[in-house]
Symmetry: C2
Subunit: 320 residues, 2 copies
């Protein structure tokens, strides 16, 4: 089974699982699973958030933790062009939690799914050693956009702005207090539901949401499509406050934009011939920019370029 | 919002969450959520299993842990009369796990869903302090059977056999080695998918799966339906080896059957007039017994009777 994933130990484990499952699994390796029902196509995805791995309670309150967990799952629906119906949320609550905590977390989950036009359909609640939230999302989709449709000649585009979530994380790790726009990008990411639908309707060839960081997620899209992506770091749209945070921390801001996880923007391969009128219309309709950051070519993997220079990915990972 | 849940602190928390969510939630409080798509009805549920809470690794191997986690979620589909399409499984893997463990767990998940006629549709994999599995299931259902349809005069019936899973748990807790049939009931419960469909087609009025134990789950069904259930403990069908295990442990075997969790049998309210020919046909079609254990009456709550004596629920909970 070709899962169309980039390299890395996490993805090796997923490949091993897929091999073990054999024909007991179907359609693994995209942002969502697709199921047909009565002529409609439904999209499903799950996203697991664990305290100490995905968040720390000293950085976020319960409502923000719930919002982020739901936003991460809803972003998978955005990435295939789906419209959310709703979600089911499983919570494990540690013994030291206040009796209000489950309600606060679910209030954040509820706010995120309501913003995306869906509802909470169900869930499960249990004890556990650390706060854990798994969100399963369900949506409807007219024309599912997969990771595998990019073709040489396509443009590579990104919605919104990059780097602020990673900038906030690095500031928090350094014991600093992020400015409001940077902190908001980290605490309240907005799944790009309407952007995903707009791009799906505009014949997007391939799409993925940026949950693990542009460089890694671009590698998945390249592998799934059997193409290479060339991305120009100078063109990456930096979020508000990212340049200042990078200057504070003595880091090139493009590193936050290229390696920062949890931006939850969409990376999309669009056919050639997208005009300025198109991007203007996107911006008017959706309220965020659509920026061309590179091209699809024959080959494999992702080339990051800064001006004329080729930048290695590993060089970018040193501050993990 | 009337969630139709029995009493208890866990259910108070769920009621508090439902109140917080308000109209951002829909249809909470049944075994599954229901969504319409293209004229079909889909059923969804999630079930979260956490190491140290739901299982211990010294009692079960990775494949058994995966099987049980999937079976628990699939049992929710059985409880509404649905046919599984598939599932998505989220795994958190602790640092001490072998590199094979995720594959073993997912092998068990895959075996359980294959037995139920579905496939693995997707998942998520991350690190965590303890082995954690959340399973989201999706199925199709012609006539969803809810918890809320029981009426005075209905018979109360149960599929299969009760008590073996709890007997195994108590033996393991006491450092004893359960006999094969008792251990199998604990390690490899079989979701009653075909039984649930059969009963739904036979106009079952209300149904619930026995995940928390007969007494507690019967209380949910009674509360959701606005009726009382009268259950005769002497009629409970004991699993193979339960009487011997209870004798070993010096416990009344009916306690295992009434209070034992994770039997994953179905408790069902059927209209009056079910004949011996009907139960014989069930047994021939499904391969397990269908046993009448009591009646639905006007009122509220669950009365457990042993002969002429009324047995209190709290009295049964002392060995928790």
């Amino acid at each position: 089974m070709n899962l169309g994933l980039g390299s890395g130990p996490e993805f090796d484990r997923i490949r091993a699982i897929a091999k073990t499952l054999g024909d007991r699994a179907r359609g693994l390796g995209d942002d969502c699973a697709f199921v047909e029902a009565g002529g409609e196509v439904l999209a499903l995805s799950v996203d697991l958030s664990v305290e100490g791995v995905h968040f720390r309670r000293e950085w976020l309150d319960g409502r923000e933790i719930g919002w982020r967990a739901a936003a991460g799952a809803l972003s998978d629906l955005a990435a295939v062009g789906a419209t959310p119906i709703g979600l089911l949320a499983s919570l494990a609550i540690p013994p030291e939690s206040s009796s209000e905590e489950p309600g606060c977390v679910m209030d954040g989950v509820g706010a995120a799914v309501a913003e995306s036009g869906g509802v909470v359909l169900g869930g499960d609640l249990t004890a556990g050693p650390v706060l854990t939230i798994d969100v399963a999302v369900l949506g409807r989709v007219n024309r599912p956009v997969k990771r595998s449709g990019a073709r040489p000649g396509d443009g590579v585009w990104v919605t919104g702005w990059l780097g602020a979530s990673r900038a906030a994380l690095e500031l928090l790790r350094a014991g600093r207090r992020p400015d409001t726009p940077v902190r908001e990008a980290f605490a309240h990411p907005h799944p790009r539901i309407s952007a995903g639908r707009w791009l799906a309707a505009r014949e997007a060839h391939a799409m993925i949401d940026l949950s693990d960081g542009l460089a890694g997620d671009a590698a998945h899209l390249a592998a799934a499509s059997g193409v290479a992506l060339v991305i120009d770091l100078e063109r990456l749209p930096l979020g508000s406050g990212v340049a200042a945070a990078a200057a504070d921390l003595g880091v090139d801001p493009h590193r936050f934009a290229a390696m920062g996880g949890e931006d939850y923007e969409l990376l999309v391969a669009l056919p050639p011939g997208i005009s300025e009128a198109d991007t203007t219309r996107f911006e008017q309709d959706i309220g965020i920019p659509l920026t061309r950051i590179g091209s699809v070519t024959a080959g494999e993997g992702v080339s990051l370029r800064q001006g004329d220079e080729r930048v290695s990915l590993t060089g970018f990972d040193h501050f993990r």
